[in-house]
Structure formats: C-alpha cells, structure tokens
Amino acid sequence: MKRIFRFLSFPRKRESRALRSGGCTALRAVWIPAFAGMTALLFAAFAQAQTAGLDAAQETRYHQLINELRCLVCQNQTIAESNAPLAVDLREQVKKQLTEGKSNSEITRYLTDRYGDFVLYRPPFKASTLLLWAGPFLLLLGALIWALWFMRSSRKPVAAPRPVDEAAVQKLLNETRAALAAQDDPKP
C-alpha cells in the first residue's frame, strides 16, 4: 500500500535521528523485499477526524483534495495519510481555505506556489506533461494502426494463375465441339 515505511507513529520530535527532520524520520535504512502491495508503515497514525465545521459538499471536496496532495515529508504518502506535522498543517490549511469559500483550484494554487507541482499527485496538463497524458493513447493509436497493417500485409497474395496450356484447351474445345456437332446433327 502506500508507502512501505511508515515510521514512528507519534511524531515525537525529539527522537528524530535523520539529518532532516520534519517528524517523518527514517528509523533505519530498511529495505523491504515485497514489491507489490507493500507499503506503509510510517506514521501509522491517521489523519484525525478533522472535518468539523465543513458542510457535506465541502467535506467531500476536503477528502478529495487531501487524497490527491502529496506530503513532502513522508514522500509517497498523501497528506490524508501522513501524520507528519507538515501534513497536519497542510490539512488544516485546506480546511481553512474551504471554509473561506475558496475553490479547489485556488487551494491547489496556494500549495503549488509554495511547493511546486510536486505536491500534486495528479500532474497538471502543461507542455511538459503533454507526453505523459497523451503518450499512452498515442501509443495505442500507433499500435492499433500497426496491428491492422500487420494483419493486412499477412494476407497471402492471391496465387498467380497457372500458365494455361493453350494446346490442351484447344484440344478439349475441339473435342467438345465435335461431340456437340454429332449431337446436333443426328444421322438421318
């Protein structure tokens, strides 16, 4: 799941051992063997119920937003999942701006102004991400065209007509004519 290493659950600041501490500290460099599905241990703590003061529509948007924003401290977690102090602050900020009636794009703009596009798990459409968004569909198109071309070109060319033995045909024709003539011309 997300993020293999959730570390310490309580952001006990004093215990930070890494060089950069924001509450999301590598306890030790551990590699975990499993590839799939494994992910997280970090802040096994959760985002607490923080939606008091939001109406239903805002609450939906709140969940939607915090689940698409990346925490910079415990990277590879959304700010909904991470409990690093920064993630808590960012959640508070999102909530505050929602209650102030800001739109989703205003809120994400506020964050990208400070942290760049890195915070967005949904990469924005722009020139540099054109290939990202269009790439798979362009490839699909190309591959489909290639597949159709391949199937078309695999069709065996129609077998060339065998050279006709003129003499044999003529002979057969003559015989047939003779037979027909014999039929049409009954002996009196």
Binding site: R20, C24, L72, Q75, L86, D89, D113, Y115, F118
Partner: protein, 172 residues
Amino acid sequence: MRFAIPIVLMLGVLALLGFGLTHDPREVPSPLIGKPAPAFALPGLGGTPPQLANADLKGRPVLVNFFASWCAGCRVEHPVLMQLAKEGIEIIGIDYKDTDADGAQWLQRHGNPYRVVAADLQGAAGLDWGVYGVPETYVLAADGTILFKQIGPVTEQVWREKMAPLMAGAKS
C-alpha cells in the same frame, strides 16, 4: 531495421536510469527561486522584540536559516554556520515549530550564529516559505529576492560552491 527499435528504446531508458542514480529524488526544488521572499512578521525568540519582517531583510544579501532544537541535521550544519558568522556573514535564524524555551536552550548550548532569531512556533511562516523540513537555508539578494534554497544541512562545500558566489554577486 525495425527489429533494432527495442534496443534503441532500451538504451534511452538506461540513460534515464543512469541519470536517476546521480540525483536525489527527495529534494524538491522551490518555486520561490527568483521571487520576492514571502511576507511575514514574527516575534523574536522568547517572545522578545525585535519583531522580524520582510523589510528587515532588505538592503544587503542575507542568509535565512530555518532550524529547530529537535532537528538533528541542524546540529550537523551548526559549526558551519558558526564559522560563517565569524566571517561576518549575516544569518537570520527562524526557529521552526519549536518552543521558546527549547530554542533558547539549544542556542545557548551550541552557540548562536544568528544576528536575529525569530520564532515561528506554529510553522506558519515556514508554510509560506515552502519549508518542508529543517534545516533549510535561503540566500536572499539585497532587494529581498530569493536566489537559492539549500535543502538539508549547509556544508562547507555547498557554501563554497553554491551560496558564497551568490552572496558575493548580490553584494556588488
């Protein structure tokens, strides 16, 4: 010819991965580079004046260093900062998400390289500056523009190669 396409694609991917090995994926460049430092107004550490605001950072190039007593990386860079202070570089300290008492005690124990120490106990200014962990150090030009951001401890090498030239350039 078309049978050679896969190997060409693979070489491209290999080059990309080779590049990846030389880069730290955890460092997120700041979008604030080249922009004016965000507006802020903070009390001095310990609730004492002087207040610190944008205007105080203008007129000469300065370093703004976000630190905290709970941060291990800050201890690593501390001797470097002390040395810089001795050389007359002006460093503004901002104590990030800390308590007044812990911050003051930490400075007392390890020495104070800062001309002014402001307290950002809630991390509000840090949010505006795009701080996502401490230590982080900004190089500001005389007009208050952010020239550079060091994520993680300032080492002598980083200072020499990246920050010092910028400071010198900003002065002239």
